[in-house]
Each structure stands twice: as structure tokens, then as C-alpha cells.
Symmetry: C2
Amino acid sequence: MYKSVKSFKISEKKERLKNSLKEKGLKSTRQRDVIATEFLRGTGHITAEDLYKKIGRKHKGIGFTTVYRTLKLLTTLGLATERVFADNLTRYEPLPAEDHHDHLICINCGTITEFENMKMERLQEKISNEFGFYTVIHKMEIYGYCKKCKYHSTEVSEYELNKAKAKNKK
Amino acid sequence: MYKSVKSFKISEKKERLKNSLKEKGLKSTRQRDVIATEFLRGTGHITAEDLYKKIGRKHKGIGFTTVYRTLKLLTTLGLATERVFADNLTRYEPLPAEDHHDHLICINCGTITEFENMKMERLQEKISNEFGFYTVIHKMEIYGYCKKCKYHSTEVSEYELNKAKAKNKK
DNA sequence: AAGGAAAATGAAATTCATTTTCAAAATAAA
DNA sequence: TTTATTTTGAAAATGAATTTCATTTTCCTT
Ligand SMILES: [Mn+2]
Ligand SMILES: [Mn+2]
Ligand SMILES: [Zn+2]
Ligand SMILES: [Zn+2]
């Protein structure tokens, strides 16, 4: 039977999750399976809140707390990573991604584009060394207008708008 | 009378503040003067909370809210800028600084070191362009162990410790 | 299969930095 | 002064993140 590359990777990760759980004396549950599956299927950069909503549409009775805790768990187990961009929300993306990467973030439409640049990595390391630093992680984000939004930037930024909405909600 | 370069710059900035206030129909107050002075004297990367405490020692009766609002005001007027590092606290530093700069942050002692690297700036711009982005700002932070802390990292991170303290306070 | 210990769940409560509210005080123009 | 406008600051509100705890579920052992 045909199997896409992506679904293969997902099942591989789910296998890894299952093993890690057993190894640590933790339990496999319906909730963890649903949450992990839905999360790993996604394109990443999702908040616990949004994943909770996404799941809520298809599956009944999975609480926000469990989604939140499962994302934390996946992070602990090396299957996810946390990202905090300028809107100060904690987002998660599946790991291991192709490789280390940084982000371009559109302040109009919120689109997040990933990039990887070895020259940049080496330069960062060089700078770090110059100051006698030992680098653990780095964060590199470029904020601006994406290709699509570049020429329409007289409108109110949807990204800013979302922040405003988030504030006014309820 | 002798005047240091730095105090000259501070009075220059305070002059600018005074003018901006008048221009916008805002008022000059004792609080704003004290807060601006104390802030501009500092080395930057200070939270509203810490500036409030620092001021509290010398001057009586300046509320946290006013410190908070004055830092926001200075930011609006282009005399300060907000920075949010991995501990998720909003810090402020005087502007205009020498130039645009990025940060090296020690995850052991919390020391923040500034650096400026033109090669890095150009490379970022190049990457942005490749994706058709129009760059507005960028964020580049390197987290690791500083020169001092590099060889003592078996101890509990003071940076982490502060986060813990912050949590347990009260 | 039961039994039982340990872990997981989820609604509700808590935390904590940030932001807003509002009544009283201060500022500055007339 | 007088008066309109702004500022102040204590207290309240906000909201995302985290914790609590009673109940339920898992899964290991008889
Ligand atoms: Mn990413
Ligand atoms: Mn700085
Ligand atoms: Zn866009
Ligand atoms: Zn250090």
C-alpha cells in the first residue's frame, strides 16, 4: 500500500513517543495519541490554544490542559520545540525539523517562513567566540513584510489586528 | 566647569524629552524628570519593576504605574526601546544607542553583552531579499555561557535561579 | 478477570507581568 | 486665581501560562 513520506515520518515519531513513554513509566492514552497525531500532522508554529481548538472540532472531550501538557511533554522528549515570537505567545513545532532554522515573520499577515543559512550560523559562532562565549542556542528572527504584503502595506496589519482581537476577545 | 560626555548626552536627551512633551501638549512633571534621569543614567536592559525599585531607594512616592508609563512614553518618543529576551520580561534601553546592535546573553549570570556586526546585518538583508521580504526589524540573540561562567557551569544557573526566585517571590 | 498502585485528565483556581481604571492631585494656559 | 486638561498611583483587570486536586484511566500483578 502506498504511504507518503510525511505520514511515514509521523508514525515513526509516534513510535518514538510510545517508546519514550514506556521507558519513563508514563502511560499511553487516547488523548496523547490524538494530540500528538494532530500536532505532528500540522505545519508547526501552533499555540496550545489553537491546537486545542483544532482538535476540539474533530474529537470531543480533550481539555486544554491536556493539550498544553502534551506539548510540554513532547518538548521534553525532543519531539517538539517551543518558539516565542514578537507576539509573546508560545508556539510549538515538531522536531527534529529538517535542520536548525531561523524565521522570517510577516508583520502584516503573520506568515512564518523558515530559512537556513550556514554562513549565518558560522558568523554567529565567530562573534560568540570573539567575546569568549560558549553558545548554547541562538535566536534569529526577521520581521517585515512578505512578498505578498509588501505592496499592500497601507492597510492595517492583520498581525497587529490579531493582537488587538486577542485583547478584545471576551 | 567640567562635564562628562555621558552627562552631556543625558541632558541633551532630557531636553529632547521636554520639547517633545510640550510639542504634544503633555506636561512636565517631577516624576517624569526623576524617572527619565534615572533611566538614562543606567546601562540599559532594565525592567520597569527594577527601575521602580531603584528609584524607590532615592526618591519617595513614585508609583510603579508611573514608571511603567514613562518608559512607554520614552519608547513612543524614540528615547527608549523595548527588548524581550528569553525570560519574557520587557526590558528597556536608552535610544539612540551608538548604533543598531544585537545581544549575547549569559544563561548563567544573566550578563547582557552588546555587539554590532555589519557582515551579519548585510547577510540578514540578503536572506530577507531572497525571500522577497521587506525587512522592518530583526532580532538576533545568542544565549550561552560568558567568559566568566564558561568554566563554572556545574553550578546552578543564576539566571535560572532568578527565574525561580521571581516565581517564589511573595 | 480483578485488584490496586501510579499516572493522567480536565475544570477550576492560581500566578504573575502587564495594562487599564478612576478618583484625586498637579500642571499650565488664560 | 480660575479652569481645562493631564498626570498620578492604588487598585482592579487582563490574559497566557501553570498548578491544584478530585476523579478517571492505565497497566502491572495476582
Ligand atoms: Mn520553524
Ligand atoms: Mn542593548
Ligand atoms: Zn504577509
Ligand atoms: Zn555569565
